[in-house]
Symmetry: C2
Subunit: 348 residues, 2 copies
Amino acid sequence: LETMPGERTTIRELARLSGVSVGTVSRALNGYTDVSPETRERVIRLARELDYTPAAAARTLVTQRSHVIGVFLETGVGRPDLQHPFFHEVLVGFKDCIGSEGYDLLLFASERPGNGYGDHSYLKRCRHHNVDGAVLIGVSPEDEELRRLLRSELPCVGVDVELSGTCTGYVMSDNVAGAITAVRHLHGLGHRRIATITGLLDTKPGVDRLRGYREESQRLGLGYRDEYVAYGDYYFESGQSAARRLLALDEPPTAIFAASDMMAIGVIRAAAEAGLRIPGDLSVVGFDDIQIAQHMHPPLTTLAQDKPGLGVAAARALLRQVDGADTAEPVTLPVELVVRDSTATVGG
Amino acid sequence: LETMPGERTTIRELARLSGVSVGTVSRALNGYTDVSPETRERVIRLARELDYTPAAAARTLVTQRSHVIGVFLETGVGRPDLQHPFFHEVLVGFKDCIGSEGYDLLLFASERPGNGYGDHSYLKRCRHHNVDGAVLIGVSPEDEELRRLLRSELPCVGVDVELSGTCTGYVMSDNVAGAITAVRHLHGLGHRRIATITGLLDTKPGVDRLRGYREESQRLGLGYRDEYVAYGDYYFESGQSAARRLLALDEPPTAIFAASDMMAIGVIRAAAEAGLRIPGDLSVVGFDDIQIAQHMHPPLTTLAQDKPGLGVAAARALLRQVDGADTAEPVTLPVELVVRDSTATVGG
DNA sequence: TTGTAGGCGTTATCAT
DNA sequence: ATGATAACGCCTACAA
C-alpha cells in the first residue's frame, strides 16, 4: 500500500489500489450519491492515507472553473496609493472571506507569465489562469485595457474605484457621509472657520470627501471660501505643506478636516512648527483610522473605515457574480467617527 | 477570420485558421527553431490578432511547471505579526522581482480549496496548485505540518524565520549587527545606562536583537543589568508599558533601544506621560524604519531594514532553487542606522 | 452501483 | 519543416 515518494498520487493510483475504476473514485471523492457507502468509505480512507490531493490544473481544464480569484494590486510608481497599508488591510478581509468559500487568490505579478507571448493585458492575464473572477485595487478606471476586461463576461469588483461593466461592481466607504460627519462634528464644537485638505481628485474617495465637506459647510451656513480648500495627495508631505499655507492665511481656520490620516499627521506637524497647540489652537480630523492614528500625540480624531469589512463586502459581491447573479449593485459601507484628542471646542 | 465572442481561443483554432497543425503552432509560439520563418510569422500575427493566450492549466498539466509561486502569509490571530505592514512591503519587492521572471503569485487563502477533500496542509496546498516554489511569511517554524513541507523536494524560502529543509533557505536582516549599532550609537552619545525592550523571543529577530544588545553592552563594559531588559511583543502597547516600568526604576535608563519602531513610539508616549522630554531626558532608538517613523515628533532614530530588498533576496533565492540549485544559503541583509531626532547626547 | 471512454488545451515524441 | 498522436490528471455523460 505504498507509492513512490516523490511521485504525485493520482486518481488512477487510487483506483488501482482500491480496486475500483477512476470514475468511481472521482464520484466517491466528490460526494456523489450514487456510490455505495462501503466503496466511498474505502476510497476516502485511502485518499487520506496517501495524502491525496487532486491536481487543480487538471480539474480546471475539464470543469473550466479554477476556484481561483485574480487580484490586481497595482503597486507601481504611477499609483503610489499602494504604499498605503490601507489596501493590504482590505486584502486581508477579502482573503479570509474568499478562502472560507474554497477559493485561493492569484496575485498577478508578471506581465508575461511563463515568459511567453508578449505582454499580457488585464483580460489576457485572467484568461491565462482561468480565474473565476477578479478584484481590482488601486487601478485607474481610465485605462483602456481595463475597460476591455470590464466589458468581458468575467466577474469583477473594484475597491475604492468606481467601475462599471458587464459583471462589475465596486465597494467603497461612504465618503460623502464621512466628510459630512467630520464637518458637523467640528461645527458642533463651535468651529466656524473649517478648512479641508483634499485627497487626490482623480479618485472617487477624494472627490466625495470634498463634496461632503462642501455640502455640509453650505448647509451649516458657513459660506464657501475657496481659500479654505487645499489640495493634497493623501500623503504626509502634502498635508504638512497644505496646512502651512492654510495657517498662514489672514484669517486662518480654527479646524482642519484632512481627507486622510497621514495628511492629518502632516497638519499636526505643521501646527507644531507654527507654535500652535492641538487641539487648543487648532482642531484636526483625519480619515481612515490607520493603526498609528490612536497612538499619535495627541491621538487623532478620525473617520474610521472598515477595512476588513470592505474586503469582505468585495468578496461577497464577487462571489455572487461568480455564482451567476445578474446584478452587481455597488456597495457602500458606513464610516464611523472616532473622537479622540485632536479636536476640541473652539478656543478651548 | 473571426471566433465566437465568449469562446476562448485555443491553439487548435489557431491551427485551423493558419492552416497548419497544432504542433507547429505550439512550436512557432514557443520559439522553436525548426519552424519556417513564414509560418512562424503568420502564426504569431494571428495569435496577436485573436489576442490568444495559452491556458495555464493545460500547460501546467503537461509540463509539470506552473510558473506560479505559492505564498503563505499567515494573518491569523495566533500570529499577529502580520498586521505589521512590514511583511506587505517585503511582499511587494518579492512580487516585482518574481514577476519580472515570468512568475505569478498564488496567495493561499483557503484551507479546503474547491471545497474538496478535507483540510489542506502546507504541502497539500502546494501540490494541489502545482506551485514551483513557496515563500513562507509569518509562519511558526515549530509546526509539524510545516516541517513536512520543508522535508519535501519543493523549493521554499522563509522571511524572518529560520527554516531548514531539503531545498529551503531564508532571508533576514542582520539583526544582531543592528542591535550592536544601536547600542554603539547611544554609547557614542555618552549614554551609559542603556535599556532595551525586546521583541517576541520566539522569533529569531527578537532573539538576535537582544543578543546584539547584550553583546555590545558587555563589550563596552556597561555591565549587565537584568532590570534593563524588558520584554515586549513588537507592538505599541508593550513598548509603552515596558517603558513605564523602565522609567520607574531607581536608576532609570537614559536611553532605550526598542526592538521595533512601534514599541519605540510607545516609549515616547510613556516618556511624555512621565514628563520626560525626548531626546533631552531620554534617547530612543527603534528598529524597522516604518513609514511614520520619520514623521513622528520627534522623528525617530532607527535601524532601517531594507524591506523590498528582503523580498527581492527571497525571490532570487527561491528562483535559484527552482532552477535546480542544490545549495540554499541563508541570506542576511545589512540594516542601516538612520539618525534622526529621538537621540542626543546624554543630558543634552 | 459501477465501468468505459471522450475530452479539456497543451507540449512532446515520434514519424515523415 | 511539419503532421499525427500520445500523454498530463481529472470529470462526466453514457452504458452496463
